[in-house]
């Protein structure tokens, strides 16, 4: 194989399959032109001239890369935004759903082991998240390489930007997507945590494990709880959608928080939250004094309620505080006169 053949083969190895033959032929023709020019006919100097010509043309890899600029990155600027967006959306949608379903299923198996269920949900979500990250990245690496010519920033200026494209709200969300989604997931968790054992008991009849929460609450308090939780859920969906503490959203938030606070306080002060029968069974199995268990349970309920009310107050105050900031103008620039 001659030096020229080897050179062309080396260039071809780094060319895209599609027009390899054609480019190879062109390089060969170009090389012959060059050789002719440098007095290739003189047979004695042949080898030397060829070497010089090839070296003038340079590294075959570089020459090939001029034809099809290689990508020294996994995902270039042309796909990067789409990649991040897809990743974000899929993760945000799949992970909460996956975690919730795992949580419910684990809890359904073993209703009392809350910690285990949370562990399963978080662990499962983590490994699913890794899988999603991996596969979406692979897909976009292929998409990137399916572009014949790598994206160039200059090529994007075709659409003229108009002021109407400016987002109406301040660009930055006050309520991050993550925060809003966390709230929604938390709503669902609370909802399911309370509702699932209740429905389980209801379905299985009285014969089965004594319910933890007082069944008497079914008359009025549980229905109110579910109504409140549903309203909260709807509110949180709007929080996710709007992203800023607009007057309406803030007002709804304050009303919901106040309603929840009143509900919790009223519930704790007027009702027996924990099933007395449940306490009795606990007592009989663990051989401790009935009074102790009752005090313990009352305190637990009261402290939980206090923490919950605290969170609600903070949420309310925070939303009002942020709502005030929504219309603030961006800080004025302080211009100092330069002393000459």
């Amino acid at each position: 194989m001659s030096l020229i053949d080897r050179y062309i083969a080396e260039v071809g190895r780094h060319l895209p399959e599609k027009n390899r033959t054609d480019i190879e032929a062109e390089i060969r023709s170009m090389l012959e032109d060059m050789l002719e020019e440098s007095g290739y006919q003189a047979k004695s100097a042949q080898e030397k001239v060829i070497v010089e010509t090839l070296e003038q043309l340079g590294d075959p890899k570089l020459l090939a890369s001029q034809y099809a600029p290689s990508r020294r990155y996994l995902i270039g600027p042309g796909w990067y935004d789409a990649y991040l967006q897809t990743l974000q959306r899929v993760l945000y949608i799949v992970l909460p759903i996956f975690a919730t379903v795992t949580f419910i299923l684990t809890l359904a198996d073993n209703p009392l082991d809350f910690v285990n269920a949370v562990g399963e949900a978080v662990g499962g979500a983590f490994s699913v998240g890794l899988q999603i990250l991996f596969w979406i990245t692979i897909v976009f690496v292929f998409l990137e390489r399916s572009d014949e010519v790598p994206y160039q920033v200059q090529n994007t200026g075709s659409k003229k930007w108009t002021v109407s494209q400016l987002p109406k709200m301040p660009y930055k969300r006050q309520i991050s997507i993550g925060e809003a989604l966390t709230d929604i997931v938390m709503d669902l968790f609370v909802f399911l945590w309370i509702a699932l054992p209740l429905f389980q008991n209801w379905l299985q009849g009285d014969a089965n494990p004594v319910p933890f929460l007082n069944p008497d609450l079914w008359n009025l308090w549980f229905p109110i709880f579910f109504v409140l939780m549903t309203l909260n859920l709807i509110h949180d969906v709007f929080k996710l959608k709007i992203g800023n503490w607009t007057p309406t959203l803030t007002a709804t938030n304050v009303v919901l928080c106040l309603a929840s606070i009143i509900y919790v306080v009223a519930l704790v002060t007027t009702q027996q939250v924990i099933n007395p029968t449940f306490l009795a069974t606990l007592d009989s199995t663990q051989i401790s004094e009935l009074r102790n268990v009752t005090t313990w349970s009352t305190w637990t309920v009261n402290i939980s309620a206090a923490i919950f009310v605290g969170i609600l107050i903070w949420d309310m105050v925070n939303s009002v505080r942020l709502a005030r900031r929504l219309n603030e103008r961006p800080g004025t620039l302080v211009i100092t006169k330069s002393v000459s």
Partner: protein
Amino acid sequence: MENDELVQNILLELRRGTLSIAVLSQLSKEEYGYSLLKALSDKGLEVDQSTLYPLLRRLEAQGLLQSDWRIMDEARPRRYYVISAQGKTVLSKLKQEWSVMAETIQKMLQ
């Protein structure tokens, strides 16, 4: 030394930008790669083969040039390039832009 390198880098970018205009302007009559290289060099623009040939391909892919393999005169088949109708339109726009730009820069440098 460092300054030389900076100058070279900036010049390289300048050339890269202007080379397309130069090539389009010289292809009103069809040329093959090597003859075009010579033509450019005769007018004072030295271009690397490894830059010119891929550029011809890119311009053709963008529809500004058209080409085909042909046997002219004697010898071997060569790939001949010539400016397309679209290329002519683009070139005339580029010419205007270029003269404006050259004038502006000239004014600034005075």
